[in-house]
């Protein structure tokens, strides 16, 4: 869009004479003619492998995206994603000096944690398939609209979404204002049914099918709004500020996660009901969530190299605040090759209802949990995440490139121990480290 603007400005500058005018007219005709008749498909593909330490999650994600300009900058794009997940995830219970047993979501397949081990639910293997389509076109000289749809399916989750955005140029296309809205409807069908929040997990020998209280399918609706400004600051620097608002309502709990209920010494307790031994309660999250974020991104061109720097502040009504700093330095070293080190630093506060575990005396009465909400999901804890990465790329042309990148991501948690005697010496929230390798290839045909 910027290059076409350059040509039309030359064409309208009367002092450059008729030759420039003729050349410009000819090239515009040539370009629009070629685009209308046989514009190429641009293909972008990538394969990502993500692997966590300690036999946790492994994910393999191939993506293919196709894009074509159907003439007059009317652009159609399509993206297909496959995401295959295996491995184990913390189920929210804390480690104990005694071995523990948990029931899998369908009731038959149990899983265990040894003494001192963080309980990991290894029963999930899931494949997600997602499709995105998008249509973008100019509305008039200064405005551009886009419409998109997305569909995603995995074994226990289905999602359908629509989004629309408008972008308007000001100040000779140096400033662009964007407004976007998105709506998504999710359906959650947990394996084994949705456990009723704050009921007890049934496990092992005590298991009878009747004891797990479940509900039918759950839903969640999400509305997102985005307001953004992109500003060219100079020949070398472009910046963007986005404000995002999100509001979701419906089922937010994780149907596979529990919290341990402990006595004042830190030992697991028996459920008051005679049929269940160790008392683990299914978690409970609020039915609504409202989110805000401000995101500031920059691209700065040095003599040859490019710096990419962004910052995001996020806050929501679950009490979570976070800061994200992202820095990349693209070092161009000739032959159209580049090397790009990457650093990301992330820090979040805990959700109001986050607890490492619950106390029988403080948080329960009889066989009921007395809190409004509670979750021990490490993703809602106070944590710091650090990413170090390196990317190598070779550009064959402006539309064709091969790249490969390696990244290491590690999370550490602020609260990871307890002063309770039975928990002393145990790491209740061990650091998580993951490696990512991804390969990308883009071309035209």
């Amino acid at each position: 869009m910027q290059l076409i603007t350059q040509q039309s400005d030359i064409a309208t500058n009367k002092t450059t004479g008729s030759i420039a005018l003729l050349l410009a007219a000819a090239s515009v005709n040539l370009i629009s003619g070629a685009q209308a008749k046989d514009a190429p498909w641009q293909v972008d593909s990538s394969l990502l492998v993500y692997s966590e330490s300690d036999s946790r999650v492994i994910a393999v994600e191939p993506i293919v995206a196709l894009k074509k300009d159907l003439g007059d900058e009317r652009i159609f794009s399509l993206k297909m994603t496959l995401d295959s997940l295996t491995g184990a995830s913390p189920n929210g219970a804390v480690a104990s000096n005694n071995p523990q047993s948990f029931t899998g979501p369908s009731g038959e397949k149990n899983y265990d944690a040894g003494a001192g081990e963080t309980p990991l639910d290894d029963s999930f293997k899931d494949t997600r398939a997602a499709l995105n389509v998008n249509w973008e076109q100019p509305w008039d000289e200064r405005n551009k609209i886009s419409l998109g749809g997305n569909f995603s399916k995995e074994y226990d989750f289905t999602s359908l979404g629509l989004n629309a955005a408008i972008a308007r140029d000001f100040n000779n296309k140096n400033t662009t204002l964007s407004l976007g809205v998105g709506y998504e409807a999710d359906q959650i069908n947990p394996v084994g049914g949705t456990p009723v929040e704050f009921t007890a997990m049934v496990y092992g020998e005590d298991e009878t099918e009747d004891l797990k209280q479940t509900r039918s399918n759950e839903t969640k609706d999400v509305l997102d709004l985005l307001l953004g400004v992109t500003q060219v600051m100079s020949r070398h620097w472009v910046t963007q500020v986005n404000y995002s608002y999100g509001s979701s309502s419906g089922y937010h709990s994780d149907p596979y996660k529990v919290l341990s209920i402990l006595d004042n010494q830190g030992n697991l307790v028996n459920h008051p009901s005679a049929e269940i031994s160790n008392w683990y309660t299914y978690e409970n999250r609020p039915d609504t969530r409202t989110r805000h974020s401000i995101y500031w991104a920059n691209k700065i061109h040095l003599t040859e190299d490019v710096i990419d720097f962004s910052y995001r502040y996020y806050t929501d009504d679950w009490g979570i605040d976070s800061h994200t700093l992202d820095l990349r330095y693209r070092y161009e070293f000739g032959g159209n090759m580049y090397l790009e080190p990457h650093l990301r630093w992330y820090q979040q506060g805990a959700a109001d209802f986050y607890n490492l575990y619950l106390s029988q005396s403080l948080h329960t009465s009889g066989d009921s949990v007395t809190l409004d909400y509670a979750s021990a999901d490490p993703r809602l804890a106070e944590l710091t995440g650090t990413t170090f990465g390196l990317k190598y790329g070779i550009e064959f042309s402006r539309v064709s490139e091969f790249n490969i990148r390696v990244e290491q991501y590690s999370q550490s948690y602020k609260v990871n121990s307890s002063s309770l005697p039975a928990l002393s010496g145990l790491d209740l929230a061990p650091d998580m480290t993951a490696m990512t390798i991804s390969v990308g290839y883009s071309f035209e045909f």
Partner: protein, 75 residues
């Protein structure tokens, strides 16, 4: 309270950039560097979508650059 302040702050930034920055920017013929792939704000959309998905699955925050990437059952 914090969120209303943030919304008003972004409106302020937006109106400041729209009105006060009419002398910022470049002429049409100075867009050579800005046109390069490496200078696009989202030059590698597949990479940023994959990364956003990973971080969305492992952290409590979402959003920033844009949306419409599709949901997942991960959070």
């Amino acid at each position: 309270m914090i969120s209303r302040k943030m919304f008003l702050l972004s409106l302020l930034i937006t109106s400041f950039l729209l009105s006060g920055c009419s002398n910022l920017g470049v002429k049409a013929w100075e867009r050579d560097l800005l046109a390069k792939k490496s200078m696009q704000l989202n030059a590698y959309p597949l990479e940023s979508a994959s990364d956003d998905h990973t971080y969305f699955s492992k952290e409590a925050s979402t959003g920033g650059r844009g949306f419409g990437g599709g949901g997942c059952g991960c959070n």
